[in-house]
Symmetry: D2
């Protein structure tokens, strides 16, 4: 599976920064979730329709993230997501935060497909096929 | 009605600050909601039990807030709530954020009692009586 | 002074919502600050350049906000800012959050121009003229 | 090195939750940073004094985090930190979020000691000795 991935521009506002003058570390996870949402939306699966249409939602099981360089107020970042592995009930994504050609942050995010009660549920073929195309 | 109110210590962490070196303005509203939650809990109404026990939740209808002086990293603040007016389906609270004797922030918060569908619902006497005692 | 204002689309992500299924009340202030930042940027005053270029920053002195209807996950909102009054060291803005034609949230925000030490400082003519044009 | 670690109670408020009814994944990192701050404070190193006293601050270089079970509104969590490895310019911490005896979240956090300009700086003996005692 070769993926070009999907990316989203993200501006750094005051809300994202902290007293050290840089983006607060937890907020990169917020940026990464935004691009995952827009990626799913772009694949045709509106994030608020996953439960009504498919009886599932995607939850984050684990994150491995490296903070390489800080982002700062007003930076225009590019945040990307690439599908690395698509399993039966989970997937692994690569996510990168860039500022120009500088890589600021790099993560590996594992998502699981679960019912609203948290029970693992196979990712439907309709979703699987669209995700594999990106 | 005279009220002594209820207060909660709140430490300022990096997550609360922004690149200007002070607490980000929206975060004072987070502090104020924490003290409202602990106040309700202290009155005997656990915040997660309002829907199952009473079929209601309290939503914020309006906030009027003045930012007088900034709070900074590691400050140990005191955040208070005082019941100003208790109506049939709403209440008005006074909330203050203090650092030592300095008043940093002062707000007037109007809450409405609503069902999960957002329909106004009279505040039950059981709640009313406890709130009036604080 | 008649103003058409400036507006920005804002998508609602999981990060913005709370366990009541709607946007957490403090997060509307984050949305409003985003549009203020983009408005200033659009006027030619990059938010991170206000201190180096003009020796000033804008701080929020007060907010009066009404929460009319809730926003929900995945909503595509439109958040606007309109200059209501431009004083010597402060300004008053009208800000509205809309979902389609529904007004969800309406605020009056007072900003003050201060030095990095928090001393009031007259808004320079260069800034004043641009803001009045919007 | 055997460590008993340090822990802090953390209440889950609306601000911490999301529309899925659970704590938003990035917010566990906020909880973990709170306990790190209180741990450093308890060791005698107020977080806002690290730069003036020692010319350094601790930045997060990487996080590896597993989300095992969700926390919910009003939960009273216990968040802990244990020093796993203390290097010359960095340290590795183990952090756990518990609800009663349930482990909800488990992380390995690598911190680096840097100057305000981001240059690696040896952790002073004064700090090293206190941290090793916890």
């Amino acid at each position: 599976m070769t993926n070009v991935g999907y990316s989203l521009p993200v501006r750094v506002y005051y809300e994202d920064t902290d007293a050290a003058g840089v983006v607060y570390y937890a907020n990169y996870l917020r940026f990464m979730e935004r691009v995952r949402t827009e990626w799913l939306n772009a694949c045709g699966f509106e994030i608020d329709q996953l439960v009504p249409r498919f009886g599932l939602l995607f939850v984050v099981r684990s994150v491995q993230i490296d903070f390489l360089q800080p982002a700062r107020l007003n930076d225009r970042l590019e945040v990307s997501v690439t599908l690395e592995r698509l399993g039966r009930v989970s997937m692994v994504l690569r996510q990168v935060v860039q500022h120009g050609s500088d890589e600021l942050c790099r993560a590996r995010v594992k998502l699981a497909s679960v019912t609203v009660d948290g029970v693992p549920k196979a990712i439907p073929d309709a979703i699987r096929q669209q995700l594999e195309k990106t």
